[in-house]
């Protein structure tokens, strides 16, 4: 993955930048020592690393504004960072950039149950937003698997999803307002506790813009009353086709589970070795969860079981209590850990129309043979979001490159079948150079036109999302 060469003129200004930033921030909030900036050299796409020139940790919107104004005046690129769990390299620095971390801004500013909103500073972790309202019977719905670590700022930038978004939607569907600091330091309030935008839906385009339009410092989020209960069932099939058909039949029948998760055989085998959840060793395993009162759950699971049985499952197991429910989820939740235990892995994130599942799995199998690398699949089946995990060995020269080429081919296949390159992890640097597989140049120019308006100098996270060749002229202007 290429990154633009650092601008020597900016590197030469490091001392001045440190001094100017120190004038607006507390001493411990400006990190410039080379040993310490290493802490910010990568995110969860750790194959790529580069320490920034400086990292700053402002404590308020006003401080963020002051930092951005200085960087804007000095023409220094800024890479916003929250918890650094991006799998796409979204918060990867360049050597001439300032990392702007919001991790110190993690207060709850207001909870308003009657209006079903919470306002937080965006450095707050996803799980602790739910944590703040849990005792009063509420929760924040988007639940990325990284929710213990990842922060709302990153969730907004990536429009993150989770296992339960089939029912509750992703971040954009649960975001009501933001405080956005523009690259020139201007502070803008967009949206709030009211339900829809007054003019253009700027909030809609800010969410998912990967830190390229402004720095989000506060957010108003929709919170929901917790359902009375939830219960999963586990269904195993000996063919991907049949499992896919079962998912489609459940949806067509009008039952809307909160989650339908899918694991394929390689994934089941790996997690069984690792976590011993007692999964059947079959081709396709579904975990389907529904919510409501115990009686309501019985009714819904009754309908689902009836449909599932029509397709001849090799196993159908319903959780009878909380313990069994936890066991059913155990394997799925440890899937990534299990893979990490076997080998290095790369986690992909393409989406396909649900009906294309068997085809994409067949395609992946063929590619796996061609590249000589194993792939295992976990999959949000209700919404078609695939997570193929390609196993490779980082110590074997050439393996990473082979793995990336294999991954790119899988994503091309997703697009060919009517899907997209990324369902929830974002483009970052990882899928940047594949954007032209999904979009025509004109489509990308339209997206870049939005950045031109918000950040005319292209200083915010400039080397991400768009293929470098496509964004080159714009970035070149910034570098002058």
């Amino acid at each position: 993955m290429d990154m633009p060469a650092p601008n020597p003129a900016i590197l030469a200004r490091k001392a001045r930048m440190v001094q100017r930033l120190s004038e607006v921030l507390p001493p411990d909030a400006v990190i410039h020592d080379e040993a310490e900036t290493r802490a910010y050299e990568c995110d969860a796409l750790s194959a790529y690393a580069c320490p920034p020139m400086i990292a700053v940790l402002p404590g308020s919107t006003a401080e963020v504004s002051a930092v951005l104004r200085i960087c804007h005046e000095e023409g220094v690129p800024v890479v916003p960072r929250a918890a650094g769990t991006s799998l796409a390299g979204g918060s990867l620095p360049t050597a001439d950039s300032v990392i702007l971390g919001v991790s110190r801004m993690n207060d709850v500013l207001e909870t308003d149950y009657d209006n079903r909103v919470i306002r937080v500073q965006t450095g707050r972790t996803n799980l602790s937003v739910s944590g703040a309202v849990e005792e009063d019977g509420f929760f924040y719905a988007p639940d990325p698997s990284s929710q213990l670590a990842c922060a709302i700022a990153g969730n907004i930038a990536m429009n993150s999803g989770g296992a339960h978004c089939l029912k509750y939607g992703v971040t954009t569907n649960n975001l009501m307002g933001v405080t956005l600091v523009m690259m020139d330091g201007t502070i803008v309030e967009i949206g709030g506790a009211h339900l829809d935008a007054g003019g253009l839906d700027l909030l809609g385009v800010i969410c998912g813009s990967e830190g390229q339009l402004g720095v989000v410092t506060e957010a108003t989020l929709r919170i929901l009353p917790k359902p009375e209960g939830a219960r999963p069932i586990l269904v195993g099939y000996d063919s991907a086709e049949v499992a896919g058909q079962c998912v489609s039949d459940i949806i067509k029948a009008g039952v809307l589970p909160v989650a339908i998760e899918y694991m394929d055989r390689p994934c089941i085998e790996a997690t069984e070795d690792f976590a011993g959840a007692g999964y059947p060793l079959c081709e396709a395993l579904l975990i389907i969860e529904v919510e409501g009162s115990p009686e309501e759950i019985d009714v819904q699971l009754g309908m689902i079981k009836e449909i599932a049985r029509k397709h001849d499952p090799v196993e159908l197991r319903e959780a009878q209590d909380a313990d069994e429910a936890a066991r059913i989820w155990l394997g799925r939740k440890s899937a990534f850990g299990a893979m990490g235990n076997i080998n290095d892995y790369m986690c992909l994130d393409g989406t396909i129309p649900v009906s294309a599942l068997p085809e994409v799995l067949r395609g992946m199998e063929a590619l796996s043979k061609q590249y000589g690398l194993d792939v295992a699949n976990v999959f949000h089946a209700g919404d078609g979001n695939l997570h193929p995990l390609i196993l490779y060995n980082a110590n074997t020269p050439g393996d990473l490159e082979k793995c990336e080429a294999f991954g790119a081919d899988i994503l091309r296949l997703c697009v060919e079948l009517g899907g997209c390159l990324t369902g929830e992890h974002g483009v970052g640097i990882e899928k940047r150079d594949l954007m032209l597989v999904q979009y025509e140049a004109a489509d990308l120019l339209a997206q870049m036109a939005v950045k031109d308006v918000f950040d005319p100098a292209w200083l915010l996270n400039p080397a991400k999302v768009f293929p470098l060749a496509v964004s080159e002229t714009r970035r070149a202007v910034a570098a002058e």
Binding site: D112, D114, N115, R116, G137, G161, C165, G169, T172, N173, V188, G192, A193, H194, L195, D196, A197, G198, G199, L200, D201, G204, V205, G208, S209, P225, K226, P227, E228, V247, S248, I251, K252, G254, V255, L256, G292, E295, V299, T351, P353, G418, G419, C420, T422, G423, K431, M435, Q438, E440, A442, D443, L444, A446, Q447, A449, D452, V453, F454, V465
Partner: protein, 368 residues
């Protein structure tokens, strides 16, 4: 007037245009201001409908009714419950799906299911230079690049002419029940709606009419689901609402549907004189904000967060409201339709319009 039959032809019309165009979907709202009408009705038809994947791809000029019929045949629906403006505006026309998406038109179920924009998965549109652009796709999860889909939803044609939209659809629940309270003050009604909405029983409609269909105040909460769910949830909600008065439960499909149609289409203001304003605010503040209006008629939806107000012709609702942390749109009447925006937001809006419509030909004058 132009009425192209294909996206390519539409793009050609836009490319050649030197004077303003007024983009007309079904023409039910008489919006768009001056300019040569550019009708989208020639771009009609469902391109793809996969009930098992909850996805629909449809050309922008397709009548909403045609979409709803196709979905109903599979037991599905547009969950955001788009309003039909014809009765309120008093005009004719046939609402199109493109018009609904361009206006981000959502009805009572918005409070629970989300707005129209939340169901938009992908768009194709023609920008102001005649360039065809696509964004998003047909799958439910997609974060590939910027979300121009949301930007187009609610842009009222000011950034481009929609030619095709992909929508997420949902199963239509088997049954509906309505809990009705009578005689509540606006403030108590909104408290009751909040109580319902903060319960775990998934209220999918929460409205209050100071003057209901019978002239007296009526407050309604809706739940939807499968048959076995209805009695359980209505029973629980009856308990939640008990402090506010006697709760009636309505289960008749015709009757419940007609209540929500009445709310959705703002029926109390049909065949009335005066301007109609639509005010979006923090739900619990609804009654207090509405009281500043001195309105001839009011209707609250979205738990109090959406106020429909009938005012004398030419009255300036915004002046009456003062600052209130929301916005007021003039839906019927002449004057500035959209709420003026703070300077930095207005600058972003103007910047986006200049990028997407450099000739300034799309619905000039609309949206600031």
């Amino acid at each position: 007037m132009a009425r192209p039959e294909t996206e390519q032809d539409l793009a050609e019309v836009v490319r050649a245009a030197t004077e303003p165009l007024r983009i007309v979907g079904g023409g039910t709202r008489g919006m768009g201001g001056a300019g040569t009408p550019l009708e989208t009705g020639g771009l009609a038809g469902i391109e793809l409908y996969e009930p098992g994947a909850l996805t629909l791809v449809v050309r922008a000029g397709t009548p909403v009714a045609e979409v709803e019929t196709a979905l109903a045949a599979e037991g599905q629906r547009l969950a955001f419950e788009p309003m039909d403006h014809r009765g309120l505006i008093g005009g004719g026309g046939t609402p199109t799906i493109g018009g609904v998406c361009a206006g981000n038109i959502s009805g009572p179920r918005r409070i629970n299911a989300g707005a129209c924009r939340d169901f938009m998965l992908g768009v194709r549109f023609v920008d102001g230079t005649g360039q065809v652009i696509k964004n998003g796709g047909r799958v439910m999860k997609n974060v590939t690049g910027y979300d121009l889909v949301k930007l187009m939803g609610g842009s009222y044609g000011t950034l481009g002419v929609l030619t095709e939209v992909a929508l997420k659809v949902l199963p239509a629940p088997a049954e509906t029940a309505v809990l009705r309270l009578r005689g509540l003050s606006d403030a108590d009604a909104v408290r009751a709606l909040s109580a319902g909405l903060t319960s775990p029983f998934e209220v999918t409609g929460a409205a209050h009419a100071p003057q209901g269909p019978g002239g007296e105040p009526e407050t309604w909460l809706r739940i939807e689901g499968f048959a076995e769910q209805m009695s359980y949830r209505t029973g629980k909600l009856q308990g939640v609402l008990a402090p506010f008065g006697e709760v009636e439960i309505l289960r008749d499909p015709e009757e419940t549907a007609s209540i929500w149609r009445w709310v959705r289409d703002v029926a109390p203001f049909h065949d009335t004189a005066g301007d109609v304003w639509r005010i979006s605010c923090k739900p619990t503040e609804g009654p207090q904000i509405a009281s500043r209006l001195d309105a001839a008629g009011l209707l609250y939806d979205w738990g109090g967060g959406l106020i429909w107000a009938l005012l004398p012709e030419g009255a300036d609702a915004r002046a009456r409201l003062g600052d209130f942390g929301g916005h007021a749109t003039l839906v019927r009447g002449s004057g500035q339709r959209f709420h003026p925006e703070p300077a930095p937001i207005a600058a972003l809006t103007a910047g986006l319009r200049a990028k997407f419509d450099p000739k300034g030909i799309f619905n000039p004058g609309l949206m600031g």
